[in-house]
């Protein structure tokens, strides 16, 4: 700790940023890809091309399938393909395993013409990649919630202390001075952070709020008690769900759900149904709740509540009822950006990329600042210094290679491989592990250059492998206006070019260092003598 307020904040910024930097880098990269999660889903399921079918057909197919799969479930949910977030008709069913515990969820994508599961390769898709940004991998949610929660808290501290540390926010508002070593890294770090500060702060703060019930369970627990049922009661009260009933324990068959969605469309207009949720299907007290499309940052929407045994409307719920819930649903909606159209979605994506660059440049700055002193040491850089450098290479370049490997695995693993979707993830993390170990055996400059080239090559490979394995090459996609596939290929190529530029720059610098005479005392004296 240093004396003086600003120095203390600089110290805090440096160290809070460093210890969680690599986790946050992973979170930002995978979370940012989540802006296009359903587009990546479509790319990773190339066999099935989304088809527009009437809502009635989708609802009938879903009801037919749920009757088979979700008998005795507490709750069914149907997501018809009526918006960008749902390219394929999706159903879920939640079943009680043990009273008082969280429900167990089953999930399927359905072909609306056959009411059978979609016939496609087993893949985690874009959804799994996006889920990693808050659930990580290979660990239960109870662990990842704490890891991500604590990292988010550190991030928030780093943002606030970073703003305090930055002396010339307004003078340097538009300033980036390239090719000046440490100065350039600092400029880049600061200018990106200042210009995307509203986004950067929002995404961190709202991300932290997702873990409210994990990090501070007592707030609800003190008044409602702990456990799943009590939390459900709190949520119901907050959302003013007074219509909700207990099970009647008498069997009554469901009405045709089509009747219910048709009534919802009559009230709201065509294409406005976002989801249909059925509580206690098959019970006398079964209720169907229809939600509307999300069109603003407020994530909750108007709902129509129906009696699901006779199709009568019970009540119309407004989008929100209590101010705290409005606040919560709005900030969560801002984080998830489900309301965002194309233009805004891309801006979200670019802001996220800026976030990736802020974290990456911060990690590099730590090294750049300390490198001259470390290199002067007789026994070479300390272990800690080499560790940070190695983690930087393995994460900033290596994580990207690993993600490209995840996509390549989707195309190249045999379709009938058992646990194929899990192997996609294994491939990703094996590649990342290799990338993290690679700097141990290579000089650090070479490690950077090699890994940047590998990342570039891996992304450049994607459009080719895709074209060979699916026949949907870039030219065809562009001609047919298939923006999901064309966009994926173009972004992959752009990523490859960026990594290649970085690699070339590093090579040029290496060359200069070799050519430049070593600045020893003898040399300097010799040069001065020549002059």
């Amino acid at each position: 700790m240093k004396n003086g307020f600003r120095q203390s904040m600089a110290w805090l910024h440096t160290w809070t940023g460093l210890v969680v930097g690599w986790v946050l880098f992973f979170v930002f990269v995978t979370g940012n890809l989540g802006r296009f999660d359903t587009e990546i889903d479509q790319w990773m399921k190339p066999e099935v091309i989304p088809q527009a079918v009437p809502l009635a057909q989708e609802i009938s197919a879903a009801q037919q399938r749920l009757t088979q799969r979700g008998a005795g479930a507490e709750r069914w949910t149907i997501y018809p393909a009526t918006n960008r977030d749902t390219p394929y008709l999706r159903i879920t069913w939640d079943t009680e395993v043990k009273p008082g515990q969280a429900l167990k969820r089953g999930e399927e994508f359905i072909d609306p013409s056959t009411a059978a599961p979609l016939d496609t390769r087993a893949t985690g898709g874009g959804q799994l990649l996006y889920k990693m940004h808050y659930a990580l991998a290979y660990m239960p949610r109870s662990v990842s919630n704490w890891i991500i929660g604590i990292c988010s808290m550190f991030m928030l501290v780093a943002i606030v202390s970073g703003v305090i540390t930055h002396k010339k926010i307004f003078t340097d508002f538009f300033t980036f001075r390239p090719n000046k070593g440490q100065r350039s890294w600092l400029d880049l770090h600061a200018v990106l952070a200042v210009l995307t500060l509203p986004f950067f702060f929002m995404i961190t703060y709202t991300g932290l709020l997702f873990f409210l019930s994990t990090l501070v369970p007592g707030i609800v627990g003190a008044n409602y008690g702990f456990g799943e049922k009590n939390r459900q009661q709190f949520n119901d009260e907050l959302a003013a769900r007074e219509y909700r009933l207990e099970r009647a324990e008498t069997q009554v068959p469901l009405v045709s759900l089509n009747q219910i969605t048709a009534e919802a469309e009559r009230r709201w207009g065509e294409g406005q149904v976002r989801s249909v949720e059925i509580h206690y299907p098959g019970d006398q007290h079964a209720q169907a709740i229809v939600t509307r499309q999300i069109i603003s940052p407020l994530r909750s929407t108007e709902e129509l509540v129906f009696n699901a045994t006779n199709g009568e409307l019970i009540t119309e719920q407004p989008a929100t009822t209590a101010a705290p819930r409005t606040f919560y649903e709005t900030v969560q909606g801002l984080h998830e950006s489900l309301f965002a159209g194309w233009w805004l979605r891309w801006l979200y994506f670019f802001s996220g990329l800026a976030g990736v660059a802020i974290i990456g440049s911060g990690l590099i700055l730590w090294i750049v600042k300390r490198r001259p002193k470390q290199l002067k040491q007789a026994e070479g850089p300390d272990f800690g210094h080499r560790l940070v450098e190695g983690l930087n290479v393995g994460t900033i370049a290596g994580l990207h290679t690993a993600i490209a490997a995840y996509f390549l695995a989707n195309r190249l693993l045999p379709v009938d491989l058992p646990a194929r979707n899990e192997w996609e993830v294994h491939v990703m993390f094996i590649v990342w592990l290799i990338a993290l170990l690679h700097p141990v055996v290579r000089p650090i400059n070479r490690a950077w250059i090699e890994q940047l080239w590998v990342a570039s090559a891996a992304f450049l490979l994607l459009p080719f492998v895709n074209a060979i394995t699916t026949g949907r090459d870039l030219f065809q996609s562009l001609q047919q206006g298939d923006w999901v596939f064309a966009g994926f290929d173009l972004v992959a190529i752009a990523t490859a070019i960026l990594f290649a530029i970085a690699a070339v720059k590093l090579q040029q610098r290496e060359q200069q260092q070799i050519n430049a005479p070593v600045k020893t005392k003898v040399n300097r004296v010799a040069q001065e003598a020549n002059a």
Binding site: F174, F176, V191, L347, Y348, S351
Partner: protein, 109 residues
């Protein structure tokens, strides 16, 4: 959003040109009169305000503010990299080169 992007971009460009560092990236060895500085500042901030009103008016309060924030980041970053790598292009996109040249008593250092 395109309209407010253009308005914010011009507003930011004016505010940036008000700073000597960026002015001289575009016009090396020139200085601006104090009146011109005041005008740049006023018009710059005014344009930023106009854009937020326009965006809220056209997209509603919640969506408008989100879009406006995104537009601020985009325009700002665009200017940053233009000033660093291709300063003359700042004026090529903004149409105010002539306007500033004629209205202001620009003095050579």
């Amino acid at each position: 959003m395109l309209v407010s992007t253009i308005i914010v971009y011009i507003g930011f460009a004016l505010l940036a040109l008000n700073k000597n560092r960026h002015l001289q990236q575009v016009w090396p060895s020139r200085e601006l009169h104090d009146d011109v500085r005041l005008a740049l500042d006023t018009i710059g901030w005014l344009l930023l305000a106009v854009a937020v009103v326009y965006q809220v008016y056209s997209s509603g309060f919640g969506n408008g503010l989100v879009e406006y924030t995104a537009v601020l980041s985009l325009s700002g970053l665009l200017l940053v990299f233009q000033f660093s790598y291709w300063p003359r292009s700042v004026l090529a996109i903004g149409l105010f080169e002539n306007a500033i040249g004629k209205l202001s008593p620009v003095s050579n250092k």
